[in-house]
Structures are given as structure tokens and as C-alpha cells.
């Protein structure tokens, strides 16, 4: 589906051409599907309420859960792209060795933060599994979402380090 020579997305400053790895495309396809689902849920709800006087009762919480899934499916992509907002001030004035050292430092900090996110999300997921946490109207279990988020942060932490290793 994607062209291998496609230009890098330039919406986000400082981004490098992204990895065309299988995992990247797989997550991207999932993200696309989730965006489409978000659109579909709203449309079914809005159109349904006028044409059939039949609103879609689960639209609110389905939107919530699709949104969370989208954010966490996309996070490793943004991270692999180097798409997080950074302040780019006077760094280019430093000698290349210092720049590289700072780059590693920034990568390490990011990976640690993402790693802590992942760890806390595992704890949340485990608690939700234990307490049987579910959504209010559709009674969908919440724990899988927390585990998805945890996996996403863990993969992102690895992606940060791999990126630093390449550049």
C-alpha cells in the first residue's frame, strides 16, 4: 500500500524518514482502521438518530475506547519517527561529540519515562483485571486497553533507543 520512496511526513519538525518495517506498517494499518472506526461511530450515532430516531447507545464509550487505542497504537510510530516535539535552539553550535552525547542523554531520559509509563500501566491493567473493571453501558473489559497501552509504551521505549543507536 505504501510506496517505499514516499516522502517523509513533514507535519512534525525534526522528523526523519520512518522505518518501513513490518511492525511499523502493521501498527499504521491498525491506526488507520481505528480512525475510520471513530468516524464511523460518530456517523452511525448522528445519522441514526435522525433517520431512524435510533441513537447508538454505546457511541460515547466506544469513542473513548477507540481513541485510547488509537493513541497507544500510534505512539510507537510517532516515537520511531522522532516525531515528539523538541526544542531545537542552539544545539547545532556545540561540537558534534557533545551533540551526540546530548542525543543519547535525551534518548535515555525518554526511554526511562516511557518505561515507567509501561510499568504503571501493567499495574493498572492487573488491578482492573482483578476488580473486573468494565465500561458502563457496553460492559467491555478495560484491562486489555491498559495492557495495550503498556505494550505501546514499552515498544516506544525500545524505539527511542533504537533511533538513538542509528543516528
Amino acid at each position: 500500500m505504501t510506496h517505499p520512496d514516499a516522502p517523509p511526513p513533514d507535519m512534525i519538525p525534526g522528523r526523519t524518514p520512518h522505518v518501513q518495517a513490518t511492525w511499523y506498517r502493521l501498527l499504521a494499518a491498525m491506526a488507520a482502521l481505528l480512525i475510520l472506526s471513530l468516524i464511523a461511530v460518530t456517523c452511525i450515532d448522528v445519522v441514526g438518530r435522525y433517520l431512524m430516531n435510533r441513537p447508538f447507545g454505546g457511541a460515547f464509550e466506544l469513542t473513548q475506547m477507540l481513541l485510547a487505542a488509537l493513541v497507544f497504537v500510534a505512539l510507537p510510530l510517532t516515537t520511531a519517527d522522532g516525531g515528539h516535539v523538541e526544542v531545537d535552539l542552539a544545539l547545532h553550535l556545540l561540537p558534534p561529540a557533545a551533540q551526540a552525547a546530548l542525543g543519547w542523554f535525551a534518548g535515555l531520559v525518554s526511554a526511562v519515562v516511557l518505561g515507567v509509563f509501561a510499568w504503571r500501566l501493567v499495574l493498572i491493567g492487573a488491578a482492573q483485571l482483578h476488580e473486573g473493571t468494565r465500561s458502563a453501558s457496553l460492559a467491555l473489559p478495560m484491562a486489555p486497553l491498559a495492557f495495550l497501552a503498556a505494550a505501546s509504551c514499552a515498544v516506544s521505549a525500545i524505539a527511542v533507543l533504537m533511533r538513538r543507536g542509528r543516528t
Binding site: R49, N53, P55, G57, F60, E61, Q128, E131, G132, T133, R134, S135, A136, S137, A139
Partner: protein, 313 residues
Amino acid sequence: EELILSSWLPPRHPIVVNAIEPWAEEVAEVTEGRVTVRIMARPLGTPPAHFDMARDGVADITYGLHSFTEDDRFERAKLGQFSFLGDDAVTNSQAYWDIYTGQLDASAEHAGTRLLGLFMHGPGLLHNNQRKIETPADMAGMKIRVPGGYAGDLVAALGAAPLFMSSPEVYERLSRGVIDGVAFTYEAMTAFNLTDHIKYSMTVPGGIYNTTWFLVMNEGKWEGLSEADRAAIDAISGPAFAERVGKAWNDADIAAKEEVGDKVEFHEASPEVVTALREAASALEAQWAEGLGEYDGLAALAEFRKRTGVGIE
């Protein structure tokens, strides 16, 4: 000792102004300044996170609704979420405190925290902008926003379509005709600006629904206080807090009723509607009681209604 209280309601909400804040000030008074309570300028997490926040020590004291999280943690708390429970928030809250902490062992469901308060608001009504509900059939197909599982099952049993959404979304959806009605208190009519979008409000003796709330403190922090301070705080919490917060709800309801005036037609549910509601409600109550194991939910409900004087048979 300074205790941190995380508050998620708007700072000018009657419960914050007339219950939480005065209680916090009184804590300092009764402990002669040894314990003070600082209310955060903004909450330290989302509303549903507030129980866990007190348990985990993110804040020292939090309050919230038991129905925030849909899980198996606060099953017995649902005692106070049924219909026909009582029209006075003070009596409701005190009965709820006594019975839930007594025979239903509320502390066990609030493990990791010290229970400082349990409370309920005034009676829930059924507001709508379609028609006056005179028979159960008038509710058929009506799209009603409900606060949670029980109220949803109840209106569904009468043929209405229950919808879930956050309270601030109600205004958007009611004014756009996405929903036809909402199960809410008197106070919520004015708090969420709904008066112009409601035509009929049906009262049910003892309320069509209620919500139950907790006020809890981190257990470790509680243990760390001196015995004298704990006793002093206990004296203004529990039933005393139930009275204070119940009065705050009652006053808010009275103020709202005055503000609404005759812009909305209030009417009592007809005997026919009440009968239908009772039938649906008792089935749901029995189902709830079944899942409580060793605890006798139906006895607790009967006791509750005896306390509040709502006759039901």
C-alpha cells in the same frame, strides 16, 4: 500535619462550598490547628481515579461516587442507588452511613482507606421535554440519559432507551434533541442549565434513583494521626458529616426549585407508573441481593426504607 484534599467538582458547587470546605475548616478547629486540610486548586486526577488516589496516597483525602467505576468493588454500596429510598438528603445520608457501615461492612469495600463519610443527594426525578408521563406506555421509546447501570435497567424495563454520557454533555444533547430526557436531581436542573430544555419533571415518592458518595482518607495517613486528633475528626465525620452534606444537597434542591419556578411542570408519578416502577425495581433489587453472598441486601433495603419512612410493599 497538613492533609491534601483533591476536589474534582467545580469550586462553586454547593457540596464543595457548603460541606467539603466547612468540614475542612472544622478539622483545623477541632484539632486546635494540629491537623489542617488544604483543598487543591484543581484535582490531581480524573474524577473516577479519586478513590484510588486516596488509597495510593496521591492525595490524602478524596470524595467521589461509588458508581464512577463500573467494577466489582462497591457492590454493597449500591444499597443507596435504588428507587423509593427517601426524599430528604439528611435522612438518606444518615441511614446510608448507619446501615452500609453496619450490616453491610462498608469498610471492607473501602479497603486501604479510612471511611470519613458516606452520603446521598435528594430524590432523583425524571425530566423530559416530550410529554407528561401518565402511564408507563408514555415512556416507550423515550431516550433518557441515566447516571448508571441500575437506573438504566429500570427505564429500559419500562420501554425507554437509556443512554450514558458525562453530566456536562447532557446540556448539549438535550438541547439538540439527541436525548428526550434525563434522570437528574432538582439541583442538576439549574447547575447544568437545563431549565429551558425540560418541560415535565416526574417525581417518584422517595426518588426514582439516587447516587452514593464516599469521603475517604488514606489509611496510613489516618494511622499517623494522634489518637486525640482521630477522635476529634471522627466526631465531625460519619453521621455528622452526613447531616452537613445532606443539608447542603437539600438547600441546593430548594434553591433550584425556586429558580425553576413554573417554567417546568412538576407532577407526581401516577399510581399506575409507580406500580410499574416498583415491579421493575424489586426484580433488580432481588438480583442485586442475590449477588451479595453472606450479606442480606433485602433486609438492609427494608431497614433503610423504615428509617426514611418510605412505605413500599
